[in-house]
C-alpha cells in the first residue's frame, strides 16, 4: 500500500515541513516498483544531503532544480489559508489605527514569506502585485484629497492650491483650495485600511491557489467550480496570447508596443481564445465531465425540496433578523434554512458519481491556521466596540496614534501559521 509506506517514511501528522519531504514521491515510486536498491540509494542520499537525493531521480530533464516545494500532504487545506487571510482582512476593516494596520500588514507579509509554496505557478507570485495595487490605492486617495479637498475640518494648512471656480450646479464639489494636514492624515488612515484589506487578499492568493479552493467545493457544486476554474485560467491564457501576438507583430515589421498594437491583436486573440475554449470543452466532454449517476426519483425530489425549502428559510430568516419584529424567529429560521440547504447540496452530490483524488484535509494544523485568523478578527471586532477611540484615532485635533496593547496582541495571534508550518533548517 503506497500511502502506508510513505506514511512510515515521514509521518504527515508531525506538522513539520521539511526539505526532505520534497523527495518523498520518488522514494514512494521506487518502493512501489520494488526497486529497493534505488530506494535505498535515495534513502541513503536523504541522510547525506537532501539535494542529492532530489536530483538523483529527476528523469529526462536534467535542468530541473531540486524541488523544495510542498507536496500535497504537507500542503494545508486551501480553505484554511483563505479563512486566515480574509479574517485578517476583516480585522483590518475594524480599525483605522495606522499602527495596528501596519502590524497587520507586517503579520501577513511575514506569514507569506515563510509559508509561501515554492512553485513557479503564477498565483504564488501574486503577492508583490497586490502590494503595488495597495500602494496605488493609497496614492490615488491622497491625490484626490489634495485635488478635491476633504470635508474634514482642519487648521494646519500645508499648502493652498489655486481653486477652480465651478458653476452653481456643481455645488459641493471643490477643485483645488486649502490642503490641511488633518484631511491628508484622515485620507491616509482610510486608504491604509483598504490597502491592508487588499494585501490580505493578495496573501490568500499567494498562499493557496484559488482554483484549489474551488475544487474543494461540495460535489453538487463541483461542476460550477470547474467552470469557474476554467474561466480563471482563461485570463492568463489571454494575456499570454496577447504577448505572443504582439511579438508576432514585430515579425511583420509593425511596432510591437503601444495601444494600437494592442488593439489590432484584439480580434485574433479573441478568436484564439474561443477556439481554445471549444477544444477544451471537447476534451472535457471526452474525459467524462458532466457524467451523471442514476438517482432514484424520491431522492431527486427530496433534494429539490430540501434545497428550495432551505433557501426560502435562509431568506425568511435573514428578513426576520433585519426587521425589529422578527428577531425572535429570525435566527432559528435562518439556521434551519442553512441546514436544509446544506443537506440538499449533500444529497444533490449523489447525482455526480465523481470521487476525489487526494482531497485536502482539515488537519489540526489547518484548523489552527484558520482559528488564529478568525480569533484575530473576532478580537478586533470586540475591541472596536469596547474601545472605539483607540482603534479609530482622531485627526482633529492632530494627535499621534497610540498602540492599544491588547488589540495589538490579538493581531499578533495571526502570526501563528508562520510557526506552525515553518520549515526546519536541514
Amino acid at each position: 500500500m503506497p500511502s502506508a509506506a510513505a506514511g512510515n517514511v515521514c509521518p504527515s501528522r508531525s506538522g513539520v515541513r521539511c526539505v526532505l519531504s520534497a523527495c518523498r514521491p520518488e522514494v514512494l515510486v521506487l518502493d512501489v516498483l520494488g526497486l529497493s536498491a534505488g530506494a535505498a540509494r535515495v534513502r541513503a542520499g536523504r541522510r547525506d544531503g537532501a539535494n542529492v537525493a532530489c536530483r538523483g531521480t529527476s528523469a529526462r530533464s536534467g535542468t530541473l532544480p531540486a524541488r523544495t516545494g510542498e507536496t500535497p500532504r504537507t500542503r494545508l487545506h486551501p480553505g484554511a489559508w483563505w479563512l486566515w487571510s480574509l479574517s485578517l482582512g476583516t480585522a483590518a476593516t475594524r480599525t483605522t489605527n495606522p499602527l495596528l494596520l501596519s502590524l497587520l500588514l507586517a503579520t501577513s507579509a511575514y506569514v507569506v514569506v515563510t509559508c509561501r509554496p515554492r512553485t513557479p505557478a503564477p498565483w504564488a507570485r501574486s503577492y508583490p502585485a497586490f502590494l503595488e495595487l495597495a500602494l496605488a490605492v493609497i496614492a490615488i486617495r491622497l491625490l484626490f484629497t489634495v485635488a478635491l479637498g476633504s470635508p474634514v475640518p482642519g487648521s494646519h494648512t500645508l499648502l493652498t492650491l489655486p481653486e477652480v471656480p465651478l458653476p452653481t450646479w456643481a455645488q459641493g464639489i471643490r477643485l483645488g483650495g486649502r490642503v490641511t494636514a488633518e484631511a491628508l492624515l484622515f485620507s491616509f488612515y482610510d486608504a491604509l485600511r483598504l490597502a491592508t484589506l487588499l494585501v490580505c487578499v493578495g496573501a490568500a492568493n499567494a498562499l493557496a491557489s484559488p482554483s484549489r479552493l474551488l475544487t474543494s467545493l461540495p460535489g453538487a457544486l463541483y461542476e460550477t467550480g470547474v467552470a469557474v476554474v476554467v474561466a480563471l485560467t482563461f485570463a492568463p491564457n489571454l494575456i499570454a496570447d496577447v504577448h505572443r501576438l504582439r511579438a508576432a507583430r514585430r515579425l511583420r515589421g509593425r511596432p510591437d508596443r503601444g495601444v494600437r498594437g494592442l488593439l489590432q491583436v484584439g480580434l485574433p486573440v479573441l478568436e484564439g481564445a474561443l477556439e481554445r475554449s471549444v477544444a477544451l470543452a471537447a476534451a472535457m466532454d471526452a474525459r467524462g465531465y458532466g457524467r451523471t449517476a442514476e438517482v432514484p426519483a424520491p431522492v431527486r425530489r427530496t433534494t429539490a425540496v430540501l434545497t428550495l425549502g432551505g433557501l426560502l428559510g435562509v431568506c425568511a430568516g435573514t428578513y426576520g433578523l433585519l426587521t425589529a419584529a422578527g428577531a425572535a424567529y429570525g435566527l432559528p429560521l435562518l439556521l434551519a434554512g442553512l441546514a436544509a440547504a446544506l443537506a440538499g447540496l449533500r444529497l444533490g452530490g449523489r447525482r455526480s458519481p465523481r470521487t476525489r483524488y487526494r482531497p485536502d484535509r482539515w488537519t489540526p494544523r489547518a484548523l489552527l491556521v484558520a482559528a488564529s485568523g478568525m480569533a484575530t478578527a473576532a478580537l478586533l471586532t470586540l475591541a472596536a466596540t469596547a474601545d472605539p477611540a483607540a482603534l479609530h484615532p482622531g485627526v482633529v485635533p492632530l494627535t499621534a496614534p497610540t498602540l492599544p496593547l491588547w488589540p495589538a496582541a490579538a493581531v499578533l495571534l495571526g502570526l501563528l501559521p508562520a510557526f506552525l508550518s515553518k520549515e526546519q533548517p536541514s
Binding site: 470543452a281 466532454d285 474525459r287 476525489r356 483524488y357
Partner: protein, 583 residues
C-alpha cells in the same frame, strides 16, 4: 472493438462528405495507424470513434459506429469516457486542472474511481511516462513534449480499452516520440488496449503498427491491411518504404532493420558513388572583398574557418585561438546572423549558454535538440524578441532587440511555429497588401510570391480556410516580402503531410540558392537531411555539435534519418541522393 458500418460524415455547409461509406473493423488489442494525406478525413474518423463527431462538432453522421458494443449515436462522448481515451493535437487545450498530478487524476475523478485506485494509477502513470519529477509542476511551466506526455498520461489513467490519438508525436523530439510510442506499445502488449493513431510522420510509427488504415484521398474508401500491403499502394510513405520501392524490394521493408538486411546489394551498387550533398554556399578566399550589398543575391561568404564555430572538442582550442587572432576584415559584409557567446535567461532559467553561431548567405542550418533545448529561444534572440543577458547577437550587423521592427524585417524573417500568428487579415489579398505596406515593398510583391509558392490560391480565400501547409506557405510569402537575407523557420513541418513537405523543401532550396541564409529549428530529421548544409545540435542551451549534416547526423542514433541508418556507414542521407546516384 471499433466497428464502422457504412459511415458517412457531412459537416454543415460543406457540399461533400468528409467521410464516405466507411466500412472498417478494428479488432481488439491492435495498434492501428491511420495514414493518409491532409484533408482525407483522418481527424473526422478519429472524432467519430470518441463520439465527438457528430455530438460535439455538429454535422450529420450516417451509418453506425460502435465502440466496445456501444453505439456512438446513443452514447455521448462523456458516456464513452471509460472506454475511449482521446488525445488531440494541442495538449494545452486538453488540460482542465493546473498541475501534473491533478491532471492525471482528473479523468478518473470524473468516472468515480475509488481513491486508492486513483492513487496507484497516478503513481504508475507518472513512472510510465517519466513524469515523476514534474508531478507538482504547473502545466503551463512544462515544455511542449512534457505537456504532450501529460496529456497522454491523463487519458491513460482511467485504463480505457481504446486510445485515440491525433498526431501525438508531431510536437516531440525524436527521443521523446520514441518514449511515447514505447508506452503505447506497452499498453497494447500488456493491457490489450486498442490504439488508433493518426500521424503524418510515418517513419516514426510505421514499425510499431499492427495494421494500417489508409484514407487515400478525401471521400475515398479506407483500406485496412498489414503495413506492408498498404504501403505498397499508399500515396504517403516514409523514406524506408521509398527506398524499398526504389530498390525493388518485395515485400517492402517497414523497419530500418528489415531494410538493412536487404541492403547489401544496394550498398554494393552504390559503392564508388558519392552522395551529392545539397550545394553548400560557395566558399571564397579568406579575405573576401565586399561586393555590392545586394540582399537578395549575396554570393560572398565567409571563409569556412570564420564561420565554423564549434568543431569537435579536441580541436576546439586551436579554432578558438584562430578566431581570436584573426581580426575580422573591415571589408567583410556582416554575416546575416551572428551570435557570439550568447546567453539568455528567461524566467530565471538559463535558456542559452555561451552560444556561438554564424550563418553565411546561402547556407541552410538546422537547429536540432530535444524539446526545451533552446532552439526557439535562439530564433527569438535573432529576431529581437528576447534580449541577451550576455554576449552579442547581430543580424546583418544590427542588434535585433534595439532595431525598430520596420528595419528589422528587412534583415530577418521568422515563420513561427504557429504560422497563423502572422496572419491578421480576412483574405489572402488583404494579407498580401498589408505585407507590402509593412515591408515597404512595391505593391504586388507579396501576391506574386504567393502565386509562385502557392499556385491556385484565390484572392478571396480566408487564411483560416487554408490547409496547414498552405497557411505555412502564405506566412512564408508574407515574411519574404521584405526580402530578408536571413530566414528563420520554427518547426515548419508540424502537421504537414509528405506532399506538403516536399513542396516546402523545394521552396526552401530555391531560397537558399538565391542566397538567403536559412535557419530551421526542427525535430524532423528527414527534413534536416534534405535541406541542411549544416546541423547544430543544442542541449540545455549549449551547442554540443556543429558541422556538416552528414557528419553530425550519421553518428547520432536519434537524429539520423532512416536512409542513413540503412546505408551506414556510408553518408547517404536521403532517398533523393540514392535515386540520383542510381540513375
Amino acid at each position: 472493438m471499433i466497428r464502422f458500418e457504412q459511415v458517412s460524415v457531412t459537416y454543415d455547409g460543406l457540399p461533400h462528405p468528409s467521410l464516405r461509406d466507411v466500412d472498417l473493423t478494428i479488432p481488439e488489442g491492435e495498434l492501428v495507424l491511420l495514414a493518409g494525406p491532409s484533408g482525407a478525413g483522418k481527424s473526422t474518423l478519429l472524432g467519430a470513434v470518441s463520439g465527438l463527431v457528430p455530438h460535439f462538432t455538429g454535422g450529420t453522421l450516417r451509418g453506425r459506429v460502435t465502440v466496445d458494443g456501444r453505439d456512438t449515436r446513443t452514447h455521448k462522448p462523456r458516456e464513452l469516457a471509460d472506454v475511449v481515451g482521446t488525445v488531440g493535437q494541442d495538449p494545452l487545450s486538453h488540460f482542465v486542472t493546473d498541475t501534473v498530478e491533478d491532471e492525471l487524476a482528473y479523468g478518473m475523478e470524473s468516472l468515480g474511481l475509488p481513491p486508492a485506485v486513483m492513487r496507484r494509477r497516478v503513481e504508475e502513470t507518472l513512472d510510465l511516462l517519466g513524469l515523476a519529477a514534474l508531478r507538482d509542476r504547473p502545466l503551463t511551466a512544462l515544455s511542449g513534449g512534457q505537456q504532450q506526455r501529460v496529456a497522454i498520461g491523463s487519458v491513460l489513467t482511467p485504463h480505457p480499452r481504446v486510445l485515440v490519438l491525433d498526431e501525438p508525436t508531431s510536437a516531440l523530439d525524436p527521443a521523446a516520440a520514441e518514449e511515447v510510442l514505447a508506452v503505447l506499445l506497452r499498453l497494447v502488449h500488456d493491457l490489450g488496449t486498442t490504439v488508433l493513431l493518426a500521424e503524418h510522420r510515418l517513419e516514426r510509427v510505421l514499425q510499431y503498427a499492427d495494421r494500417v488504415a489508409l484514407l487515400p484521398a478525401p471521400g475515398a474508401a479506407p483500406r485496412l491491411g498489414t503495413p506492408a500491403e498498404v504501403m505498397a499502394v499508399s500515396p504517403v510513405y516514409p523514406p524506408v518504404v521509398d527506398l524499398g520501392r526504389l530498390a525493388g524490394w518485395s515485400p517492402l521493408p517497414l523497419t530500418v532493420r528489415d531494410a538493412r538486411r536487404r541492403a547489401a546489394g544496394l550498398r554494393a551498387r552504390l559503392d564508388g558513388a558519392e552522395p551529392r550533398t545539397p550545394e553548400a554556399p560557395h566558399p571564397v578566399q579568406a579575405h573576401p572583398v565586399q561586393a555590392h550589398p545586394v540582399q537578395a543575391h549575396p554570393v560572398q561568404a565567409h571563409s569556412p574557418q570564420a564561420h565554423s564555430v564549434r568543431t569537435p572538442p579536441a580541436r576546439l582550442p586551436t579554432r578558438r585561438l584562430f578566431r581570436r587572432t584573426a581580426p575580422a576584415p573591415v571589408t567583410t559584409p556582416a554575416p546575416p546572423a551572428e551570435a557570439r557567446a550568447l546567453s539568455v535567461r528567461r524566467d530565471r532559467i538559463q535558456a542559452l549558454r555561451r552560444v556561438d553561431l554564424t550563418v553565411a548567405p546561402g547556407e541552410t542550418v538546422a537547429l536540432m535538440g530535444r524539446n526545451g533545448a533552446g532552439k526557439s529561444t535562439l530564433l527569438s534572440a535573432f529576431t529581437g524578441l528576447v534580449e541577451p543577458s550576455a554576449g552579442t547577437v547581430r543580424v546583418g550587423g544590427a542588434t535585433p532587440h534595439r532595431t525598430p521592427p520596420r528595419d528589422l524585417v528587412r534583415r530577418v524573417g521568422l515563420v513561427p511555429q504557429e504560422p497563423r500568428d502572422l496572419l491578421y487579415a480576412d483574405t489572402v489579398a488583404d494579407e498580401c497588401a498589408a505585407a507590402d505596406r509593412d515591408a515597404g515593398a512595391a505593391s504586388g510583391t507579396c501576391r506574386d510570391l504567393v502565386g509562385e509558392l502557392l499556385p491556385g490560391i484565390t484572392d478571396g480565400t480566408h487564411p483560416r480556410d487554408l490547409s496547414e501547409g498552405q497557411r505555412l506557405t502564405l506566412a512564408l510569402a508574407v515574411v519574404l516580402t521584405a526580402r530578408p537575407p536571413l530566414l528563420l523557420l520554427d518547426e515548419p513541418t508540424r502537421g504537414l503531410d509528405y506532399a506538403a513537405k516536399a513542396r516546402l523543401v523545394g521552396v526552401v532550396r530555391g531560397l537558399a540558392a538565391d542566397g538567403h541564409a536559412i535557419v530551421l529549428a526542427t525535430h524532423d530529421v528527414e527534413l534536416a537531411a534534405e535541406l541542411a548544409h549544416r546541423v547544430v545540435l543544442l542541449a540545455e542551451g549549449e551547442v554540443i555539435a556543429d558541422g556538416p549534416t552528414a557528419e553530425v547526423v550519421v553518428s547520432s542514433p536519434s537524429f539520423a534519418p532512416q536512409v542513413s541508418k540503412i546505408l551506414a556507414p556510408r553518408p547517404w542521407l536521403t532517398v533523393a541522393q540514392v535515386r540520383e546516384a542510381l540513375a
